[in-house]
C-alpha cells in the first residue's frame, strides 16, 4: 500500500485492523463517528466483528468479555463516553484484560461541545475509574503517529495484559494527512500466548477465570502489589517523548498532541526572533517522561506548558521539574485553540525581553 | 424393603449440610430427620436417616433434588 491520504479517525481504524484487531464494539459520539462507520464497513471485509452497542457502558463491557476471551479488541469514544466507561476500565485493569481504548477528546465538562480539546488528561493518567491502577496512555500528534501508536498499542496491551489508551482530540480525528501503513514504526516485542483466556475449557486441565474480585484483604493486597510490579516495568520501558532544540534552550515549551504542532511552529518563530526556545513533547502521558525534564532543568530558565484545557499536564510537568525552575501555563478550554501570538507574547514576557 | 422389590439408600455428606430441612420436607416416606445428637463442622445438626428407617427408602431422590448443597447421594 502506498501512502494514503486519510482522515485521523479512519486511519486509526485501519491501523487497528492491520494490527490484527478483529473485534470492535463502539457507540456513536462526535467527533469520532467515522471510526464506527469505518469499522462497520471494514470489519466484515476482513471477517471480523463490528457491533454497535446500546451505550458506552455496554461497549466497554463487551470489550471486557471479548478481551477476556483472548481477542485483540478495541473501542473508541469521546470524552463523555469515556466517563461512562470508567467502571469498565477499572474492571479491565483489575482483571488484567488487554484492549485498546481510543479517546478523541472534545470540549467539556458535561456535554461540553464537539471541538477538539485536551480536558481528559487527568481522567486517563490519574485514574478516572476507582481503585489503584494505571493505564498506558499514548498521545499522537500526527495521523502517521496515530497509525503507528494504535498498531503498537495492541502489542503493548498484550505484553502487559493492560488496557492502553490512545488520547487524541477532535482535530486529529477530523484532519487528513498522508499515512504510510507499510512502514509502521514499532518495537518488536515478545508477546506471550494468551493461555489465560476463557476460550472454553476443551482439553485444558485447569479452568480459566477472568476476575477482579479478591474478597480476602491480604490476597487483594498482594494482588495490588503484583499489578504495580507490572506498572513499574512499564515505567521503565514504555516512556516516549520528543525533544527539540533543548540543549541551549532558555525557555522550553511543553505540549502534547495537536497543540504540540502549534508549539513547534511557535518555537521556530521565537528562535527567529532570537529567543532560545525548545520543545518537549511527551508522547507517553503515562508513564510520564521525567527524563527530558531531568536533562534540561539545570540549563533551562523556565518551562511553558501549553494545553487545550484549564491545565492538567502542567501538574505533572511541575512534579517532574521538582520546583527547581518556574513552570508557566497557557491554555484554552472549551475547544478553543491556544493562539501562536499569545504563546509568543508569553515567551517574550518570561524571557523578560532578554534575548 | 426386606425381601421386597427395591433396596435403596441415601448417603449424607454431613459436613456440607446447613440444616435447612428442605430434604425433610421433600421426602415422601418421611424418613429424614435432623440428627440432634450431632453438630457438623459448620455448626448445624446434619440431616440423616436412622438405620432402622433406611429400608423404607424408595430411592426417589426427591431429597437430593431439593438439597441446595449436594449433600445427598442416592443409590438403588
Amino acid at each position: 500500500m502506498a501512502k494514503v491520504l486519510m482522515k485521523g479517525n479512519e486511519a486509526l481504524a485501519e491501523a487497528a485492523i492491520q494490527a490484527g484487531c478483529r473485534h470492535y464494539f463502539g457507540y456513536p459520539i462526535t467527533p469520532q463517528n467515522e471510526v464506527t462507520a469505518y469499522m462497520a464497513k471494514r470489519m466484515p471485509e476482513v471477517g471480523g466483528v463490528f457491533l454497535q452497542a446500546e451505550s458506552e457502558v455496554s461497549a466497554i463491557n463487551m470489550v471486557y468479555g471479548a478481551g477476556g476471551a483472548g481477542a485483540r479488541v478495541m473501542t473508541s469514544t469521546s470524552s463523555p463516553g469515556l466517563s461512562l466507561m470508567q467502571e469498565g476500565i477499572s474492571y479491565l485493569a483489575g482483571a488484567q484484560v488487554p484492549c485498546v481504548i481510543v479517546n478523541i477528546m472534545r470540549g467539556g465538562p458535561g456535554l461540553g461541545n464537539i471541538q477538539g480539546a485536551q480536558g481528559d488528561y487527568f481522567q486517563s493518567t490519574k485514574g478516572g475509574g476507582h481503585g489503584d491502577y494505571k493505564l498506558i496512555v499514548l498521545a499522537p500528534s500526527t495521523i502517521q503517529e496515530m497509525a503507528d501508536l494504535v498498531q503498537e498499542a495492541f502489542d503493548i496491551a498484550d505484553e502487559y495484559r493492560n488496557p492502553v489508551v490512545i488520547l487524541g482530540d477532535g482535530m486529529l480525528g477530523q484532519m487528513m494527512e498522508p499515512v504510510d501503513f507499510d512502514n509502521i514504526q514499532k518495537k518488536t516485542r515478545n508477546i506471550p500466548e494468551k493461555t489465560w483466556a476463557t476460550t472454553g475449557r476443551g482439553n485444558r486441565e485447569h479452568r480459566n477465570i477472568i476476575n477482579s474480585l479478591y474478597i480476602d484483604p491480604p490476597v487483594l493486597e498482594k494482588y495490588n502489589y503484583e499489578l504495580f510490579e507490572k506498572y513499574a516495568k512499564a515505567e521503565k520501558n514504555e516512556v516516549r517523548y520528543e525533544m527539540i532544540n533543548c540543549e541551549d534552550a532558555d525557555i522550553i515549551l511543553v505540549a502534547y498532541g495537536t497543540i504540540a504542532r502549534v508549539a513547534k511552529n511557535v518555537m521556530n518563530i521565537a528562535r527567529r526572533e532570537g529567543y532560545k526556545v525548545g520543545l518537549i513533547r511527551p508522547i507517553s502521558l503515562w508513564p510520564f517522561p521525567k527524563e527530558p525534564f531531568e536533562k534540561t532543568v539545570n540549563t533551562a530558565k523556565a518551562y511553558l506548558t501549553v494545553e487545550m484545557s484549564m491545565g492538567q499536564m502542567v501538574e505533572d510537568v511541575k512534579l517532574a521539574v521538582q520546583f527547581k525552575k518556574p513552570v508557566y501555563f497557557y491554555g484554552r478550554p472549551g475547544g478553543m485553540i491556544p493562539e501562536p501570538s499569545v504563546m509568543l507574547e508569553q515567551i517574550r514576557k518570561i524571557a523578560g525581553g532578554v534575548k | 424393603m426386606r425381601g421386597g422389590i427395591y433396596v435403596a439408600k441415601v448417603i449424607f455428606n454431613e459436613d456440607l449440610c446447613k440444616g435447612c430441612e428442605l430434604c425433610v420436607n421433600a421426602c415422601p416416606k418421611k424418613i429424614i430427620e435432623m440428627d440432634l445428637s450431632k453438630i457438623n463442622v459448620k455448626g448445624y445438626h446434619p440431616a440423616t436417616v436412622k438405620p432402622e428407617n433406611m429400608d423404607k427408602c424408595i430411592g426417589c431422590a426427591f431429597c437430593a433434588m431439593m438439597c441446595p448443597d449436594t449433600v445427598i447421594t442416592v443409590i438403588k
Binding site: 457502558v57 463491557n61 471486557y64 476463557t198 477465570i209 477472568i210 474480585l213 | 446447613k18 431439593m66
Partner: protein
C-alpha cells in the same frame, strides 16, 4: 446397587457459601447438571453477576468471567462474538438483571444474542441485606421499604419474562419456580431448553426462576418456599412465554 443421584461433574468441589435453604444452590446444580448432560462443559463459558452469586465463578466447572453489576449480558456478547461456537451463559439476580442491567439485557435479547440467561428472581437484593428490587411485590417489606412497597412512591414490580418475550430476537423464555420437586424438575427442563436454544442457534434464551431468600424474607427455608408459591407465583405466572425450539423435550 447403582447410583441414582450424585453430585454433577458440572460443579467444582468448592462448598457453596449460600445461606441454608437458599435456592441458588438448587439452581446452580440444575444448570451444572444440564451442562453435563448436554456434554457442553468443555465448551461452556459462564459470566458471574454481582449479587449473592458473585462467587459463581468458583462453583461452575468451566471457564468463567466475573462481570460488573448488570453488565453480564454485554460481557457475554463480547465472549460469544469472539467464540460463536462455544456455549456462553450468564447467571444473574433481580438487581443485576432488572435494575442496573436493564439496558444490557433488553438489548442482548433484542439483538437475538445467542446466549443463555439464568435469571434468579427472589424479589429483593439479597447480598446487600434485603433492599427493594424491581421485582419486590407491592406491600412487601424490605430494608428500603420498611412500610411495605407503595406504588405511589416506588411504582410496580417488573415482569421481565413477559417484557422480553415481546422482542423478536428472543427464542426461548420460560418462567419456572423451585419450591417443590415437581417444579424443580420442570425448572431443569426449562434450563435444558434454554441451552438447546443456544445449541440450535435460535437466538436469545432466558429462564426466570422464582426463588427464595429465607434470610432477608425473615422465614425458615421451608416457609420461604411456600411464600414463592403463595405470593410470588400469582404475580409472576409460570409458563413458557416464547418458544422457537425445534423440539421441546
Amino acid at each position: 446397587m447403582a447410583v441414582v443421584f450424585q453430585k454433577t461433574k458440572g460443579l467444582t468441589d468448592t462448598p457453596f457459601h449460600y445461606c441454608p435453604g437458599c435456592t441458588h444452590g438448587i439452581i446452580h446444580r440444575l444448570v451444572a447438571e444440564v451442562m453435563e448432560e448436554l456434554d457442553i462443559l468443555d465448551k461452556a463459558i459462564g459470566v458471574a453477576p454481582v449479587g449473592c452469586a458473585v462467587f459463581a465463578y468458583e462453583y461452575f466447572n468451566c471457564d468463567m468471567q466475573e462481570a460488573a453489576h448488570g453488565r453480564a449480558p454485554a460481557v457475554a456478547t463480547g465472549i460469544k462474538r469472539v467464540h460463536p461456537d462455544k456455549i456462553v451463559f450468564t447467571y444473574q439476580g433481580d438487581g443485576d438483571l432488572a435494575a442496573i442491567g436493564t439496558a444490557e439485557i433488553v438489548h442482548a435479547a433484542a439483538r437475538g444474542e445467542n446466549i443463555t440467561v439464568i435469571f434468579v428472581n427472589n424479589a429483593n437484593y439479597g447480598m446487600t441485606g434485603g433492599q427493594m428490587a424491581p421485582t419486590t411485590l407491592i406491600g412487601q417489606e424490605t430494608t428500603t421499604t420498611p412500610y411495605g412497597r407503595k406504588p405511589e412512591i416506588n411504582g410496580y414490580p417488573i415482569r421481565v419474562s413477559e417484557m422480553l418475550a415481546t422482542l423478536d430476537g428472543t427464542a426461548y423464555i420460560e418462567r419456572v419456580a423451585v419450591y417443590d420437586v415437581k417444579h424443580v424438575m420442570q425448572a431443569k427442563k426449562a434450563i435444558k431448553n434454554a441451552f438447546l436454544a443456544q445449541i440450535q442457534k435460535k437466538g436469545f434464551a432466558m429462564v426466570e426462576v422464582l426463588s427464595s431468600c429465607p434470610t432477608n424474607w425473615g422465614m425458615t427455608p421451608i416457609e420461604a418456599l411456600n411464600w414463592i408459591k403463595d405470593y410470588m407465583e400469582p404475580y409472576y405466572p409460570l409458563g413458557v412465554y416464547k418458544n422457537t425450539l425445534e423440539e421441546v423435550k
